[in-house]
Amino acid sequence: MSENILRVENITIQFGGLKAVEDVSFEVKKGEIYGIIGPNGAGKTTILNAISGIYTPVTGKIYFKDKDITGVEPHILVEWGIARTFQNSRLFWDLSVLDNVLLGMHTRKKMGLFRAIFNRDYVNQEFRDSIKEAEELMTFFNPELVERKFHDAKSLPHADKRRLEICRALASNPDLILLDEPSAGMDPAETRVLMEELKKIQELRENITMIIIEHDMRLIGGVTDRVLVLDHGKKISEGTFAQVSSDPRVISAYLGGSLDA
């Protein structure tokens, strides 16, 4: 097995006539926390959507664990070990907190129609195990989640919603987790807590690889090993945060604005 868990080769993604991502390549090492940054409309989320199978690139290939996953459907990718969160959390709002996490385990817990109707012992045991596991996972992030497990997901405070989404993604035991702006809408204090939690994830799940899209440069600087910078769908720089933040091309892409802002 190679050191790279994910290899993106020259992908181009197009909507109608518009190229959202053009000829981008990068590699992510196993166990790494990899950041993707860039101004609005740079194509960050589009790349994430391509990796998680929602979009198919027009040209180029994506390899996960050396397997070509270009054009593979999202639900299969989850089974193979890629989980994700969304930019504006996409929780199942009217389902309970617990149900959200249980759904995260979907690929590991098979339950067909026959079993659902004729083998209730199995179903009950399966639910008992899953609930226990879900509660442990939620406790790791915030014990309050367990207390509110039977509440609607939409009733949670904002930060907990984002936590719940990460919980749900982790529930599938992924090897690679894609986080799309996990700190969106959080205040600085909450962001700091989130940074700690993200680091802790690797204690919880050894060898897990993370790709994080972020606006908050402090968070990116604080947690990532390496960073990819995109602008107008093109890769303009790659390296450690310190390296890219001194790259003149990156600085000009942010219109001269400071990256520390």
Binding site: G16, T45, N49, Y55
Partner: protein, 304 residues
């Protein structure tokens, strides 16, 4: 033989004109609101019954002449527009933030409500009613075709309405706001388009076309019935799907395509007259499955 072909062609043109007046509304609502208005066909039916009711009153006072007929069109148009606006304000607007499922259900409810309302409250509403003769009775013969004068009026009025509508949408500020909203609602909002007003205008145009379409339909077939809106709605919708939902010209093209297939089917296929509606529905299903964007629509991407 030539006369048969040309006569059938005339049938297609008439049917296509009538369908397109309903289909345009569907396509506008879909473009601006992402709404399929199930009640639209019944607004069409309402138009014909309002006209009949007015006619019974107007003719009583002053008899039929050019001015009464013109008045008939104007007042019917006005009432139908009010009905369309009421449907929007009372049932669709309150659901602006609800899931689309709810909007769909509410228009289904409104549709049945109008239909049953006419059946129950119009005098002898369950029976078909003869529609007054509002156009001259002369018949012309041309290339072996039999052309009643009323047909010419129907075609001219349809063309006039469609052209007026397209000038409005393309040349006026309000019309531009409809186009902008249809293309990208959020961008339109940011550009300062009053979305609520735009939607209201859409309902005015759609209802007006459908209501006048109802009168023309009455004049064409000479009888009207409370349940004709359902099939008219389904047909109008079918036409806009085939043409491409959201595209006004697509709706017109779709109307003539469906009219053509129906006429040909009824005239030339064995058992065609019995099964022509089944054919139409199967064609629509095929379009919905294979090419939901229709003949002239653009494929839309879902944003994630």
């Amino acid at each position: 033989m030539l006369s048969t072909v040309s006569q059938q062609l005339l049938n297609v043109i008439m049917l296509g004109s009538l369908y397109s007046l309903v289909a345009i509304g569907f396509t506008l609502f879909f473009g601006v609101l992402d709404l399929i208005n199930f009640a639209h066909g019944d607004v069409f039916m309402l138009g014909s019954f309002v006209a009949l009711f007015l006619f019974m009153t107007v003719a009583f006072f002053s008899g039929v002449n050019f001015f009464t007929v013109l008045l008939l069109f104007l007042i019917t148009g006005f009432i139908v527009v009010i009905a369309g606006l009421l449907i929007y304000k009372l049932t669709i607007k309150p659901l602006a933030t609800s899931p689309p499922l709810m909007m769909l259900l509410v228009t289904v409810g409104v549709s049945i409500f109008i239909r049953e309302g006419v059946m129950l409250f119009f005098p002898d509403g369950a029976s078909p009613h003869p529609f007054p003769k509002i156009f001259p009775e002369t018949t012309y013969t041309f290339l072996g075709m039999n052309i009643p004068a009323g047909y010419i009026f129907i075609i001219v009025i349809s063309i006039f309405l469609v052209v007026a509508m397209s000038i409005f949408v393309n040349k006026t500020k309000l019309g531009m706001s409809i186009r902008a909203t249809a293309q990208d609602r959020e961008a339109a909002l940011m550009m300062g388009v009053d979305i609520d007003k735009t939607i209201a205008v859409t309902f005015i145009i759609g209802s007006l076309l459908a209501g006048i379409g109802g009168i023309l339909n009455g004049a064409y077939y000479s009888t009207i019935k409370y349940d004709m809106g359902f099939i008219a709605g389904i047909k109008g919708f079918s036409c806009s799907v085939v043409g491409g939902l959201g595209n006004v010209y697509g709706a017109i093209v779709g109307s003539f395509v469906i009219a053509f297939l129906e006429t040909i089917g009824a005239a030339f296929l064995p058992f065609g007259a019995e099964y022509k509606d089944v054919f139409t529905f199967i064609i629509v299903i095929i379009f919905l499955v294979i090419r939901p964007s229709g003949l002239m629509g653009e494929k839309k991407f879902e944003k994630v």
